[in-house]
């Protein structure tokens, strides 16, 4: 972290140096960098767990780990990737970009900003420490369904308290984002003139403050069921375990969009820049994002079609779920229309954004298949579901984050990354992501259940392919780290307007931007 470019602006600010600078910082760029580095670290920890899973699944039978540990790995992999990698990466991008895109000097609540980041290392230390308990880490799946999660070992209260901390961190971050966007825009920047990334983050922030407290409530009920004698979910005391699934997914489905809406914003920023055209259908993009967010609160039970719902319920949740395909389709068509007859060039961020459109759409289509109740009875809890959500999260959310880093890295650091290495990283990543996750569709349709360390021999070939892909994907990301290292040790040479087709206030600042972004608010026409 000592390589951060902000050092050169240190001289006229009397901030502490060294480690204390990072602990006490209230600067949005410093905090954004902290978030991004932290999420990269978590991405590798979660990825390492994924490789343990894929190594075990390389061939049928039990070779490397015992089933209990395998279950801990699937649970932890999910928690780390969702709460540790993807969400902090988006918050990091929000911290870096929101002030410089809306013409503000910093975030609205700098001290709170510092807090919301520094909660994370403590939360994840607590979460990861459970792996060293005698009874092991959480193993009931990241969804923490009772009664299984109530029967777990001593890790359970630690996991719940760490998720509470993560929730508090996200809520504080979201409050900061909302306060900044609503109150600190440059004069002349009306809501409908905001960059689309800002819009998607504003809506995401509202989803966060509406959904995270519900998760907090659900896990608090789990905690009191286990330790304080309540019976929300314990059937012996009159509770209902299925109710947990309802409450959890009432949070869980908005959470899914929390993980993807900022990605939509990133792609909607990058595609116009490299097509040298304005974003097609800006207004419809905003309305589509808002309708996806609203719909996300009334579709939750499509995660639980098989619990024994009445027909009317299954039809309701099937139809509302399919309705989400409409605004999502509007987005995809707008991206395509933006590129139509544009003067396109294919730099690394654009490549990742293009791959996002294609591969995310594949994930969207498998989502539509899962939305069909009768079909879902076949697909539920199979590898088809695993293939679906990895397609929307890896070549979806993660590709968008990587695209954003390549797109804005020259702005953040003033240093240009190596385009040829970036392209190599793109092709390795894209090939291996498909080698990893595409075969999972086939084994899933054939009936291979998820979260099981062993499988019948007929699934062996596709699993071996997926495992090879996973190791290829994981190793390709080391190249990403090398590219970052290689960029940061260069001299500052990047122009202020790094990409000739890019638009927005951030490109009017120097590269790297000054420590306090806009000391004087710019005017937006």
């Amino acid at each position: 972290m000592s390589t951060n470019v902000q050092d050169i602006h240190e001289d006229h600010h009397h901030a502490p140096s060294g480690l204390m600078r990072w602990i006490t910082t209230t600067n949005h760029k410093d905090i954004g960098s902290l978030y991004l580095w932290f999420s990269l670290l978590m991405f590798f920890i979660g990825g390492f767990m994924a490789l343990i899973i894929r190594a075990e699944l390389f061939e049928p039978g039990l070779q490397l780990v015992i089933p209990g540990f395998f279950n801990q790995m699937t649970t932890m992999h999910a928690l780390i990737m969702i709460f540790g990698a993807v969400m902090p990466a988006f918050v990091g991008l929000a911290n870096w970009q929101i002030p410089i895109m809306i013409g503000a000097p910093d975030m609205a609540l700098p001290r709170l900003n510092n807090w919301s980041f520094w909660i994370l290392p403590f939360a994840f230390t607590m979460l990861l420490s459970t792996l060293f308990f005698d009874s092991g880490g959480p193993a009931a799946g990241w969804t923490l369904y009772p009664p299984l999660s109530l029967q777990g070992g001593n890790s359970m209260p630690f996991v719940i308290l760490s998720i509470h901390l993560l929730g508090i961190s996200s809520i504080l971050g979201a409050i900061n984002v909302i306060a900044t966007i609503l109150n600190m825009r440059a004069p002349g920047m009306t809501l409908m003139k905001m960059p689309i990334f800002i819009w998607t983050w504003l809506i995401t922030a509202f989803l966060l403050i509406a959904a995270m407290p519900v998760l907090a409530g659900a896990i608090t009920m789990l905690l009191t069921d286990r330790f304080f004698g309540t019976s929300f979910f314990t059937a012996s005391g009159g509770g209902d375990p299925v109710m947990f699934q309802h409450i959890f997914w009432f949070f869980g489905h908005p959470e899914v969009y929390i993980l993807i809406l900022p990605a939509f914003g990133i792609v909607s920023t990058i595609i116009p820049a490299f097509s040298r055209k304005k974003l097609f259908g800006y207004d419809s993009m905003v309305y589509a994002t808002a309708s996806i967010a609203l719909l996300s609160f009334i579709v939750w039970a499509h995660h639980m079609f098989t619990v024994g719902m009445p027909l009317a319920g299954e039809i309701f949740f099937m139809l509302t779920t399919m309705l989400i395909a409409v605004p999502t389709g509007v987005k995809v068509f707008n991206w395509v229309a933006t590129m139509w007859r544009g003067s396109m060039t294919f730099e690394t961020p654009m490549l990742f954004a293009l791959a996002f459109i294609i591969l995310f759409t594949i994930g969207g289509f498998s989502g539509l298949m899962l939305a069909m109740t009768p079909a879902d009875f076949q697909y539920h809890d199979t590898y088809f579901v695993v293939a679906h959500f990895h397609y929307v999260l890896v070549p979806g959310a993660v590709f968008a984050i990587i695209a954003a880093v390549y797109y804005w890295l020259p702005k953040w650091t003033g240093k240009m990354y190596s385009e040829s290495l970036g392209k190599l990283h793109f092709w390795l990543t894209t090939v291996f992501v498909n080698v990893t996750f595409f075969p999972m569709h086939f084994v899933g349709l054939a009936g291979m259940p998820r979260r099981i360390p062993d499988y019948p021999v007929q699934f062996a070939d596709f699993n071996a392919i997926a495992s090879v892909g996973a190791f290829g994907f994981g190793l390709s990301q080391l190249l990403f780290v090398y590219i970052l290292y290689n960029t940061l040790k260069k001299d500052v040479t990047a122009e202020d307007k790094v990409w000739d087709g890019a638009e927005g206030l951030e490109w009017t600042l120097s590269s790297p931007p000054p420590y306090h972004s806009f000391e004087k608010a710019p005017r937006v026409e």
Binding site: I175, I209, F228, G229, A235, D240, P310
Partner: protein, 175 residues
Amino acid sequence: MSNYKKTYITVSFIVVFMFFFSYMLVPLYDIFCEITGLNGKTNQERIVNLDEKPTNRFVTIKFTSTVAGAGPFDFEPLEREMVVEVGKVYTTSYILTNQSNSLKQVTASPSVVPGAEAEYFKKIECFCFTQQEINGLETKELPLQFIIDDKLSSDTKTLILSYTMFNTTDQLGVK
């Protein structure tokens, strides 16, 4: 500054409201299940004001049982199947044996299939209303008295009553 304050207050209100809303979902869920008859929940309180009105309509009641977890119990219905007249009171029982050597507390949780008809299965006396105690190696007969409400839809020919027996010894907070 007032704009900022408005934002903070609104946003904090949403956060606090949504936390309590998650708790509100619990009674809402019960009310929703009661209105729609989902979940197969039957009455957990004694039915008092009761009048028998024989209808000369007959339905089959099937009785099943489950022991939750690895409870040291043998738990079976006395009769697996009864043909009963709608609107008349019947009595049957379940047999519970404690296979361990120590005193156990148990609670039974009932469920009726089809769930939409569960509310018409009315229990007058049931061992599921309260927590039971059973000595080590004891066998107990647990009585059940019920009536099928004449509002039961005429399509229904069979109801299944299922009990799950939970070992609640030393468990916190079980009534």
